[in-house]
């Protein structure tokens, strides 16, 4: 049974017909062609599918699209400026070499952004705690933690 829902995705209102068992991850990737959110495990264990739901990081692979009818969704495609300018967290990831294969990157940048929106001056420990659900197999996290920390400092200046 399909039902109509409304989502605001990256600032644009979208009316969608979704099945009751359809996941937000599939709606974003298959219907809206926003492939920045990734399938890494499908069962909430890796964080690759992270998007922001009303500003909070959530796992799109565990979220039924119908359950978030009316919400505001931000994906990695939606955080840079309309002129193509990088969000400060994105820029910091580049400058710190926090991007290797890049598969975890959208999820980690969004999680980093959510943390800084909520706590603009996190300690290293708070950063590590906040991003613990986002696995990265390539970097060992050192440069990711530094990137988030550094964008918080820059954001303040």
């Amino acid at each position: 049974m399909k039902k109509q829902i409304t989502l605001t995705v990256n600032g644009v209102k979208r009316e969608l017909f979704v099945a009751s068992n359809e996941l937000l991850l599939n709606v974003l990737r298959d219907h809206l062609e926003l492939t920045g959110a990734k399938y890494g495990c499908g069962i909430g264990e890796c964080g690759s599918c992270t998007v922001l739901l009303d500003g909070e990081p959530i796992l799109a692979c565990l979220t039924l699209a119908m359950a978030v009818d009316g919400s505001d969704v931000v994906t990695i495609e939606g955080i840079s400026g309309s002129d193509g300018r990088l969000h400060p967290v994105q820029e910091s990831f580049l400058n710190h070499g926090a991007v290797q294969c890049g598969f975890c990157t959208p999820g980690l940048i969004l999680t980093g952004k959510a943390l800084l929106d909520e706590n603009p001056q996190p300690t290293e420990g708070e950063i590590r705690e906040y991003i613990r659900g986002n696995l990265c197999r390539c970097t060992g996290y050192t440069q990711i933690v530094k990137a988030i920390k550094d964008s918080s400092v820059k954001g303040k200046a």
């Binding site: 264990e45 400058n95 070499g97 991007v99 598969f103």
Partner: protein, 767 residues
């Protein structure tokens, strides 16, 4: 260019060219690509580790609405061939194994592919799998390689012995060596199956192009599998094209064929585009693993610490198919005695078929396993001789000009003295113990080759051209698996042609359009394709400089290319914009491109049984240091400090090099503490990330990286490879630190809390 000339772009910590797209979330990974009218592929896998297939009935699945193809072994034009790994030189000697696309008559491990489905929707394909009926007759399996070596063991693959390979390394006379020893240490070490756990599961998409060419866009480390895929379809090699995507992590797990042959078959049969992405569970269940080893080590030393002899027996579990097992074992053989001067050495190695998941390449390729053993042994010897762990190592490290036990001369700088000193320095003050937390620290050193074995006759090609406006194009058939492989070629070219990196566009990984650059494995791309690209860029530069010299009336020797200009180095102020020189060349019909071929040194192997002589182009040496806190009650280990020091030859991109070394250290830390694919009678007990535990941001310390730049590598500008070497000695460093903390040694990875608690209890019981 090996000396430390001042370079403009090489060595700088600049963001990679691919980082922007990745940070924007726009990089189109294998699963992010779709085509109109595409079908979804799925694979039916065996539920038994060892069984006869009595019958396969696909008729109900075929009748399901939306199902477009159901294929079994009988539908594969050539179901059995030989495993190749992109190598074009046939080595023979039992070095290659059986490649079987779909199980036929028997299944040999749990998760082996039995049938393929393509359907209009993923759910339909899943439903179709349920409708395929396979009747199995379970057979006794064999799951322990030591058991599998026995003469009466059941055979895993019909018609071939379970022992795939036996190699030996012999130097001097170990009997004599042990008789000269004052101290002998003898232990048995075990290391587990490990999953690559790249975050991007295996994925690809295939279609038939307008000329009838089977085209496969896939996440792979080896686009040159196109030949093997064409063989499966019985098609000429030039009728199959593989396009490699940016890969969401490889680590050796995308070195063998994964989805390619399945996709090719499904698209060939249906004429429609087909997409296939493994689920995480399927990935853990069915793709290759790192080899578990049993390693019996005996090491002898004089009272003063000098090593006299080393004897080792290695047995690796190849799982149900050969794949890269003989290669991995060969690496272990060469590495088994470590980077040490030992007069008498004997190593025996076996790799053995079992009904476990097959094993193949995994970052480090046989080097980390033996490093765990030889570096634990060194620590034991340090304790027994009363020497500091660094002292006994520094006394015995090989130096440039000396030979490994195989006789291979180390022709390049061996930086172990420096890396060890740096690590000791960086460990600094010992953290103070508190409560039930015991603090300990350990070091370990290692060596890992970069570049493929020289008897594979490895080559790489790269094409560099300059356009009319002075922008530059590189075409190279490399796969980028996240290590900055493509970006470093851009940096090398930018340096040589005097243009900013943003003026460079690189096309990679397309068997139809980019010159073959070989596999992204064996830490070989910077070495091989870096050198090929350097050669090509230098040729283009030569043409430009020659032309500009004529135009300016200056000796070519005194010209340089800087910031899109040709300038007089002598400071006369004479210069020309680069694009003007390009235009002049174009109107003269001078080629503004060059395709270079770089060849590694070629050698042939005299015999396979006894490993001798030069096997590798060069090695990367490094040391890890760890400080740990061990909770004596719970057995939990926390890594407080992790230090990696490597001679990288020359850092082409500092950010990338450090990133590789940090990531490698944590990859090794997972191997040390938590990662293990547990197989019970061939059945995977750890099919998800809640059982297979990767390090999270909470578990890991900041890795401190200390680079040594000897400039003495065989890569471009004297660079060495670091991708795999960065993992090698982490596990023994941590195990040695644990020993230092609590006085018990664990001989089996991973070092789980249960093992620690048990070992502490045994120690206490013994009083």
């Amino acid at each position: 260019m090996n000396e430390k000339t001042e370079l403009r772009i090489i060595g700088k910590p600049i963001p990679r060219h691919d980082a922007w797209e990745k940070a924007f979330g726009l990089t189109c990974y294998a699963a992010d690509f779709s085509l109109p009218g595409m079908l979804y592929g799925k694979v039916l896998r065996s539920n038994y580790p060892s069984a006869r297939i009595l019958s396969v009935n696909t008729s109900r699945a075929e009748r399901l609405k939306g199902v477009k193809a159901v294929l079994t072994a009988k539908d594969v034009p050539r179901n059995e061939s030989v495993t190749r790994f992109g190598q074009t030189h046939v080595v023979g000697g039992g070095f290659e194994g059986l490649y079987r696309v779909l199980a036929d008559r028997k299944v040999h491990f749990m998760g082996e592919a039995v049938a393929l489905v393509a359907a209009e929707a993923e759910e339909i394909a899943e439903k179709a799998l349920e409708l395929i009926r396979v009747d199995y007759e379970p057979l006794p399996g064999i799951f322990d390689p030591i058991e599998a070596m026995k003469p009466d063991a059941p055979l895993v693959q019909e018609g071939r012995p379970n022992i795939i390979t036996h190699y030996e390394v012999v130097k001097g006379d170990v009997k004599m060596g042990f008789s000269e020893a004052d101290i002998i240490v003898e232990n048995t070490y075990r290391v587990p199956f490990v999953d690559h756990a790249y975050l991007e599961p295996e994925s690809g998409m295939a279609w038939i192009d307008e000329d009838g060419v089977i085209t496969i866009r896939v996440s792979t480390q080896v686009i040159e599998h196109f030949r093997g895929i064409a063989d499966v379809l019985n098609l000429p090699h030039n009728r199959v094209r593989v396009i490699g995507t940016y890969v969401g992590g490889g680590f050796g797990g995308k070195e063998d064929i994964t989805v390619e042959a399945f996709l090719a078959l499904l698209t060939y049969k249906t004429g429609r585009p087909v997409k296939l992405t493994y689920t995480r569970e399927e990935s853990i269940l069915s793709h290759s693993k790192r080899h578990p080893y049993v390693m019996i080590y005996k090491t002898g030393a004089k009272k003063d610490g000098r090593l006299t002899a080393l004897e080792a027996k290695l047995v690796s579990d190849a799982g149900a198919y050969v794949y890269l097992s003989p290669w991995v074992l060969l690496y272990s053989m060469v590495n088994a005695a470590g980077p040490y001067r030992i007069p008498h050495v004997k190593v025996d190695g076996y790799t053995v078929l079992t009904n476990n998941t097959f094993t193949s390449a995994n970052r480090g390729f046989g080097a980390p396993q033996v490093c765990f053993a030889y570096e634990s042994q060194m620590d034991e010897l340090a304790r027994r001789t009363g020497l500091e762990p660094e002292k006994i190592r520094m006394m015995n490290y090989l130096e440039k000009g000396e030979a490994l036990a195989t006789g291979q001369i180390l022709e390049r700088h061996v930086a172990l003295q420096e890396t060890t000193e740096k690590v000791i320095e960086a460990l600094e003050e010992r953290t103070l113990p508190s409560g039930q937390m015991r603090i300990g620290r350990g070091i370990a050193s290692g060596m890992t080759s970069y570049g493929r074995m020289v008897f594979l006759h490895d080559t790489s090609r790269s094409h560099v051209s300059i356009e009319m406006d002075g922008s530059v194009t590189i075409r190279a058939g490399i796969q980028d698996i996240g290590g900055g492989q493509a970006s470093s070629l851009c940096q090398i070219t930018a340096e040589i042609l005097g243009v900013p990196i943003e003026d460079i566009k690189i096309y990679i990984a397309d068997t139809a359009l980019t010159p073959f650059a070989g596999t992204t494995t064996a830490t070989r791309q910077l070495y091989m394709s870096g050198n090929a690209t350097l050669m090509a860029a230098l040729e283009v530069r030569k043409v430009l400089v020659h032309k500009a010299a004529g135009m300016l009336g200056i000796d070519p020797e005194s010209l340089d290319l800087v910031d899109r200009e040709v300038i007089d180095k002598e400071g006369t102020g004479k210069s020309l914009p680069l694009k003007e020189v390009v235009r002049a060349c174009a109107s003269d019909g001078v080629p503004l491109y060059h395709v270079a071929l770089f060849k590694a040194p070629f050698r042939n192997i005299a015999q396979f049984e006894r490993i001798e002589g030069q096997v590798f182009p060069d090695f990367t040496f490094g040391t890890h240091g760890a400080e740990v806190a061990v909770d004596e009650e719970t057995g939990r280990i926390q890594v407080l400090k992790l230090i990696s020091s490597f001679d990288v030859g020359r850092a082409i991109n500092r950010l990338s090099v450090e990133g590789q070394i940090e990531g490698g250290a944590i990859y090794g830390m997972g191997y040390s503490l938590t990662e293990e694919v547990i197989l019970n009678q061939g059945i995977t007990m750890t099919p998800s990330f809640s059982e297979y535990l990767l390090p999270t941001s909470m578990d890991v310390p900041d890795v401190e990286t200390i680079l040594i730049e000897s400039g003495d590598g065989v890569g471009p500008f004297g660079a060495k490879g670091v991708g795999e070497p960065s993992v090698c000695s982490v596990a023994p460093a941590i195990a040695n630190a644990v020993f230092n903390a609590i006085g018990v040694r664990i001989y089996d990875l991973p070092l789980t809390p249960e093992k620690i608690v048990k070992a502490l209890k045994e120690k206490k019981d013994m009083g």
